[in-house]
């Protein structure tokens, strides 16, 4: 297992602002963690698909799905940690590669449902029924969501969409019967094209939407749990340090350890939801955890 030290290689799917910010935050956190042993190299897949430079790194951090997919093809002795990857995609990629847990892991984008339920309860303490729309990608999460809801005192009602044309009628059904809508990532349901009907319809019902990203909150969802680039970078540094101490062995995929809450205060006000600051919401949720 042991090999020559060559440092950490960060592979970016594309040189997006988020990815570049991650690199900066990662380097910053690394210094903060007093780990001077690691050197950080950055590869941009947009410029070169050849990843040979990353071979023999102590750790490859793959930013985004494309980077993870390409990195999964590196020698299994090179550990790969995915960041900015949804869990089902991570599983997919691992399934298709020769990779195994131990040398392949991720800090996934998915926030644990317990955390999302805690947010719902924090924003709407009196809510009882939570609606969820599921498509073919997200269908598998229905049961887990229901179980997690029970623990928080929320009755999770799911509606399954067979096709995109079911969206409006199913959305109406869910909004009629529930106190709020919890968005679960599914490309058929939550896309750039559907954000307007979903948010307008929910606003018409005066029911809040809980999103899964900061962008959805900016678009008009009431709130979302998400992790900032800095928070993900901090966790990645922790993992890197740990793997350095355990002969480059990676722990299993993790959900984000640190999180933030984004609240659209204008939407909250329009829905007559009592004011709570983002920091106060996080505090309250941490108490619930």
């Amino acid at each position: 297992m042991a090999q020559a030290f060559t440092g950490i290689t960060i592979v970016m799917s594309a040189p997006t602002q988020t990815n570049k910010a991650f690199v900066e935050e990662f380097k910053h956190e690394l210094v903060n963690s007093n780990n001077a042993a690691y050197k950080v190299k950055v590869v941009d897949l947009g410029e070169s698909e050849k990843l040979s430079v990353a071979e023999n790194s102590d750790l490859v951090i793959a930013l985004g799905v494309k980077a993870l997919e390409v990195s999964s093809k590196l020698k299994p002795s090179t550990p790969v940690l995915g960041v900015f990857t949804p869990l089902p995609v991570f599983n997919d990629i691992m399934g298709k590669s020769d990779r195994m847990l131990g040398n392949f892991s991720a800090i996934v984008l998915d926030q644990p449902y317990s955390r999302q339920m805690a947010l719902v309860k924090t924003m709407l303490p009196e809510s009882k029924n939570l609606g969820v729309l599921l498509g073919s990608t997200s269908l598998q999460y229905g049961e887990g969501l229901k179980d997690e809801g029970e623990k928080t005192g929320l009755h999770v009602n799911t509606e399954n969409l067979a096709q995109e044309s079911d969206l409006i009628p199913k959305l109406n059904q869910v909004l009629q019967a529930n106190d709020a809508l919890l968005a679960v990532p599914d490309p058929v349901i939550y896309s750039r094209e559907t954000v307007q009907p979903i948010l307008l319809t929910s606003y018409r019902y005066q029911k809040p939407v809980f999103g899964f990203s900061q962008s959805y909150v900016k678009a008009g969802a009431l709130a979302a749990v998400y992790s900032t680039t800095a928070q993900l970078a901090k966790q990645a540094v922790e993992l890197a340090n740990k793997s350095q101490q355990s002969q480059n062995l990676l722990p299993p995929p993790q959900v984000p350890k640190y999180f933030s809450v984004s609240i659209n205060q204008q939407v909250a006000r329009a829905l007559n939801i009592p004011f709570i600051s983002e920091d106060a919401a996080v505090k309250k949720m941490l108490q619930m955890e």
Partner: protein, 700 residues
């Protein structure tokens, strides 16, 4: 390998613990359904500052919202019928002898057959007609099933909606095309009534559309010439352009025949008219930043009535008058007119064409968490061609410009202050300012107390400002060459009416019950009333007008008299259970003159007591029912109205939903005036009876 299996098991364990059960080991090589883009990419901003409205608790006015569910439950087929559910509002079907087929809808009185003291908007487009001032409800190209909600702002609101938001503002909002999909057909058959509508809506990426066509046939009241046949088309699109822009288009077309006139009128006999209306609207919404939006909208509308009417025999009329006349001089004159008339039947061109072009821009923004503001301006031109009423074949133009601003300040959770003003200039009354201010105190999230004062103007309409309505017939009897009757001869010296409304409002939530109480005091100044105007006969014309102190006089309008309208309104929406809802509305409105004598029966132009209630219950997944009761105190309405007694009306609706594969829908049965009380509405010529109808709605 063993190791790896164990690790995978651990992963599954971890994931299920996180409620993220995972499917591992897909073999197919396909594009991943999700990626980081679903989480990290920018999204179009939907609920921008201008789309988010004030919550009712922060609102400067009392608001009644009639939502889709209420519209459905009411069983109404005519849009204005819904306003019976608004406390303080009066609805009279088919009022008056001109535009017979239209409802009179008014708030706090001064009701005539064409009440013009409310602003009425359909998707931001003003639809009141400047000729009489009212709204031609039956010509609006709007299907009830397309309405998302109706917001009625009770009380003057010029700062937000312009000058004619005098007593109240009705804001009809149809569903955004993105919120509908598929096809819907709705068929109605009942006593004197047949309707058919078809709607199709869809979405292609960011482009959403909805188109509705409809046909309405209504035979009207028994003793009236008020049938109507209406065809209409309405189409709306919403195009999401990039992350920050929306383009919306709307077109509407209406055409059809209507019954008009009355046997009691010598000239405007029962006959049919043809209406042809259209409008087009374009709206651009642009997000300037997270805290500010710009909206620019422009629309054009045109309403045309083709109306040629032939009078009764003038000769018979004058002979009949002569036979009844006892004064020998007058008798001889009437007989002479009858025998020397150049024609026997007058053929009147009563075509009316009115157009409106309007462009408006508004900028909404927030500053920090506590300030929210909107300001903007608009330019409008109305044109009017009405040869009979205006006495000219020239088209008259009316220009209006306004700028407005509104500020909401929420220093903390307990207080909200609203202030706003509108500055308007128009061709009829010059430049005026209408300010408003209110303060909301919220001791707890469930209770709000509101104090407000608001002023507004009502610009005179054409009937009050520019009518020169006369009938002329040739006469062959030297020195006379014609006879003439001048019905209305406005001198144009009429200014806007002004209202200053003070109110104390309370909003409360008690469990499932929402309550809204409003105490109001409206001070009305410079109310426009009829005034006799002395006219002189043109050379060679024999005037038939009535005489006063030896002079001929005709009707005109003038500002004269002040009044107070005071009272209380109550509105409750009570969710008795998950399946049962009870709406109850009550209004007490007392009108008194405070200066001079106002129009005949002015103080009786609003029922002192009116109430409406609606009980809806869902029996099971499929069946639901509604019982509604409306009670309106006695009234004596102005212009074409008569004394009518207390009205009691009960409506019943039973509906059953069904769903089969790709076809869903609802069958409903509605009985209006269940107990068949033969009540009179608005005037003694409108007698309502029991009417039943069946509706079939299909979604496919």
């Amino acid at each position: 390998m063993n190791d790896s299996r164990k690790m995978r098991f651990d992963l599954v364990f971890l994931l299920s613990a996180l409620a993220l059960s995972a499917q591992i080991g897909h073999a197919e090589d396909m594009e991943h359904p999700l990626s980081e883009h679903d989480y990290l990419d920018e999204m179009p901003r939907v609920l921008t500052v201008s789309r988010l409205k004030q919550s009712v608790a922060d609102s400067p006015s009392a608001v009644t919202v009639i939502d889709r569910e209420t519209i459905r439950a009411s069983g109404a087929v005519d849009l204005p019928e819904l306003f019976r559910l608004v406390p303080g509002m009066y609805v009279g079907a088919n009022a008056g002898f001109v535009y017979n087929t239209n409802h009179a809808v008014s708030y706090h009185g001064m009701t005539n057959a064409y009440p013009g003291n409310m602003q009425v908007l359909v998707n931001g487009r003003s639809v009141y007609t400047p000729l009489f001032g009212g709204v031609k409800w039956s010509e609006l190209p709007v299907a009830l099933m397309d309405i998302e909600r109706i917001e009625v702002t009770r009380g003057p609101n010029a700062a937000s909606y312009g000058a004619n938001a005098f007593f109240a503002t009705i804001n009809i909002i149809t569903q955004n095309p993105t919120e509908v999909s598929g096809s819907t057909a709705l068929l109605t058959h009942g006593n004197g009534r047949n309707e058919a509508f078809y709607r199709h809506a869809g979405r292609v990426d960011g482009f959403a559309y909805r188109a509705t066509v409809g046909y309405r046939q209504d035979d009207g009241f028994d003793r009236r010439d008020d049938f109507k046949r209406t065809r209409f088309l309405n189409a709306q699109t919403d195009y999401q352009v990039g992350l920050n822009d929306n383009l919306e288009f709307e077109i509407g077309l209406t055409d059809g025949e209507r019954g008009d006139g009355t046997v009691e009128d010598l000239i405007l006999r029962p006959h049919s008219t043809q209406v042809t209306d259209y409008h087009g609207l374009v709206r651009w919404k642009h997000r300037l930043s997270d805290t500010s939006d710009l909206q620019v909208q422009a629309y054009h509308s045109r309403e045309r009535t083709d109306d040629t009417v032939t009078s009764a025999s003038l000769k018979d009329y004058f002979l009949g008058e002569a036979a009844q006349e006892t004064n020998p001089v007058k008798k001889a004159t009437l007989t002479a007119i009858a025998t020397h008339l150049g024609i026997d039947n007058l053929i009147i061109n009563n075509d009316v064409v009115s157009e409106r072009s309007d462009i408006e821009a508004q900028h909404t923004f927030t500053v920090g968490d506590s300030l929210r503001a909107v300001w903007g301006g608009s330019i409008r031109q109305d044109t009017m061609y009405a040869p009979l009423y205006l006495g000219t074949k020239k088209t008259d133009a009316f220009d209006l410009q306004r700028i407005f601003g509104h500020l909401e300040w929420r220093p903390n959770r307990m207080w909200t202050a609203n202030a706003g003003a509108m500055l308007e200039h128009n061709d009829f009354t010059g430049t005026d300012l209408s300010p408003r201010a209110s303060l909301n105190f919220k001791p707890s999230p469930d209770h709000t107390i509101r104090l407000g004062v608001s002023s507004a103007l009502r610009t005179p309409n054409y009937i009050e400002k520019k009518f020169d309505w006369k009938y002329t017939a040739p006469l062959v009897a030297a020195p006379y060459t014609a006879i003439m009757q001048q019905k209305i001869a406005d001198d144009g010296y009429v200014d806007a009416e002004r209202i200053v409304s003070r109110e104390i409002g309370y909003l409360g939530k008690f469990g499932g019950m929402h309550m809204d109480v409003r105490l109001f005091s409206d001070r009305l100044m410079g109310m426009i009333k009829d005034r006799d105007r002395v006219i002189t006969a043109p050379v060679g014309v024999l005037l038939l007008n009535r005489q006063l102190n030896g002079s001929f006089v005709a009707d005109s309008s003038a500002n004269s008299g002040d009044a107070m309208a005071e009272g209380i309104e109550l509105q409750t929406d009570w969710k008795l259970s998950a399946d049962t809802r009870f709406l109850f509305n009550y209004a007490f409105v007392h009108i008194r003159e405070t200066q001079a004598s106002l129009k005949r029966n002015f103080t009786k132009s609003m029922p002192e007591h009116s109430l409406s209630m609606m009980l809806t219950h869902r029996f099971d997944e499929n069946w639901d029912g509604t019982f509604a009761y409306y009670q309106v105190g006695k009234t004596t309405q102005l212009g074409d109205g008569d004394p009518v007694d207390l009205v009691r009306k009960s409506d019943l609706r039973i509906a059953r939903k069904f769903k089969q594969a790709n076809l869903g829908g609802e069958v409903s049965f509605v009985v209006e005036n269940l107990f068949n009380s033969h009540y009179l509405e608005f005037a003694d010529y409108n007698e309502a009876k029991r009417r039943a109808r069946i509706n079939l709605k299909l979604d496919f």
